[in-house]
Amino acid sequence: MMEIKQLSKVFAGVSGEVVALQNIDFSVKQGEFVSIVGTSGCGKSTLLSIVAGLSKHTSGEILVEGKAISGPGSDRAVVFQSDATFPWLTVSENIEYGMKVKRMSKEARKKKCDELLELLELEKFRDAYPREMSGGMRKRIDIGRAYAVEPQILLMDEPFGALDVVTREAMQDELLRIWSERRKTVIFVTHDLEEAMFLSDRIILLSPRPGRIKQIIDLPFARPRTQQLRESHEFYELRNQLRKIMG
């Protein structure tokens, strides 16, 4: 259970103050899949980074299991919006990084890493360095690295934005599979309404500057969700409706 209460964040930038988040109020239940959607610059990444414990909020409260967040930790792994693979590590070393931190045995690491490499379709590049990878491949490394530590809360900032539709749908399906197996909390930032609808239990819609909650949408779709859902009329309707709310 994570509770966010009256959370605000103000940046004192060179060009004046920017209110990135204002009075954000919501909570996420254990095992829930929540998406955060909003236009560019509305504060999605800022919110995620506060939840991750990487930024301090200006006011308000944020509690995980009743306790205020004091900093980052592997219980809340993050897939960052920008490129965050370690360029000095090979693909497999990147993926094993968090597992090494957790002092997992070499065999366990290797096994998990192989699984993930297959999942991410990077088997052939296990020993390559990130600079030899395409943008989408690097993103997949980031995703694998976060998956590997099996966090209590997985924070993902537009993880599939750089992926083509085939890879992306495969990754979405995988994410749902992993999530439904382990039932950990996922907070998922995306600018893609359909993606949010397909994946989440709830969508939190942010309005831009100052970033406020415009609406919270509970999704009525049953799980497991399949390709059929994407093509259903219901889905299509809701999408158009949300699209209108966004502006």
């Binding site: 980074s49 991750a52 900093g71 592997s74 993050v78 960052f80 360029p87 968090g98 931190v101 690295r145």
Partner: protein, 248 residues
């Protein structure tokens, strides 16, 4: 390959100018010794020179390695913790600009002659170069890497070892090359402190008698060895920064 040729050209020009100036009798050999003088020095004292060079290199290498390693370690410590920084930074800032030549008599007074104060001087010189460079390099590490490691549960020591350290390697190459070159200057200065042997000692004697031929030989020797050291650093660096875009 044409480019390689060009780099020989510039050295050849240098040598040609030297030959013209000296063999052409344009400058006196006292001002700029010619090949004949150098050959004489070498042929009479190559064994001596080799011996002196051996001692010097021993001190230089020891000092350079210890000083650089220490500089990087302390630099990482300072960069890692604001309290450590507050404690160490002022002291290092005070010691950093102290002219090595100025402390030589003091060092002899405190530590006597012998290799210890001499190596200390080299250590100190390399240390201050690397401590500052490391602190600055750490500041330039993109925050996202540190953040990524933190969210994967890494603690600060682990982050320093696995993120900061590899990330600063490319930025430290310059400092290490500067320190390597400086260590030769420092070891010569250090050998002014009552060394009984070493190229610095050899040079002082040469200065005493204004034997510019001996001085020039020493300079050439040091340059040549420093060049080899620099090439080695570049090789190692190339291997260590394979992951970066530096060499493309």
């Amino acid at each position: 390959m044409k480019i390689k040729l060009l780099s020989y050209v510039s050295i050849l020009i240098l040598i040609a100018v030297w030959l013209v100036l000296t063999l052409g009798g344009i400058v006196e050999s006292l001002f700029l010794p010619g090949p004949k003088q150098l050959y004489e020095v070498i042929s009479t004292s190559y064994a001596d020179l080799a011996k002196h060079m051996g001692y010097t290199l021993m001190r230089q290498f020891t000092g350079f390695f210890i000083g650089s390693a220490l500089g990087i370690i302390v630099g990482l410590m300072i960069a890692s913790n604001r309290y450590i920084q507050a404690l160490l930074d002022p002291i290092i800032e005070i010691l950093r600009p102290v002219p090595p030549l100025a402390v030589i008599p003091m060092l002899i007074l405190w530590l006597g002659i012998g290799p210890v104060p001499q190596i200390l001087l080299v250590i100190f010189g390399c240390f201050v170069i690397l401590v500052v460079s490391t602190v600055e390099a750490v500041k330039n590490v993109p925050k996202i890497y540190v953040n990524a490691a933190r969210t994967l549960g890494a603690q600060w020591f682990y982050i320093y070892r696995t993120v900061i350290l590899p990330a600063i390697v490319p930025s430290l190459v310059g400092a290490i090359r500067v320190a390597a070159a400086a260590s030769f200057g420092l070891v010569v200065a250090a050998e002014f402190m009552g060394a009984q042997e070493g190229i610095g000692y050899y040079m002082i004697i040469a200065q005493r008698y204004l034997r510019t031929d001996m001085i020039l030989i020493s300079i050439i020797l040091i340059s040549a060895i420093a060049w080899l050291v620099d090439q080695a650093i570049r090789k190692i660096e190339k291997r260590m920064t394979q992951w970066s875009e530096r060499h493309q």
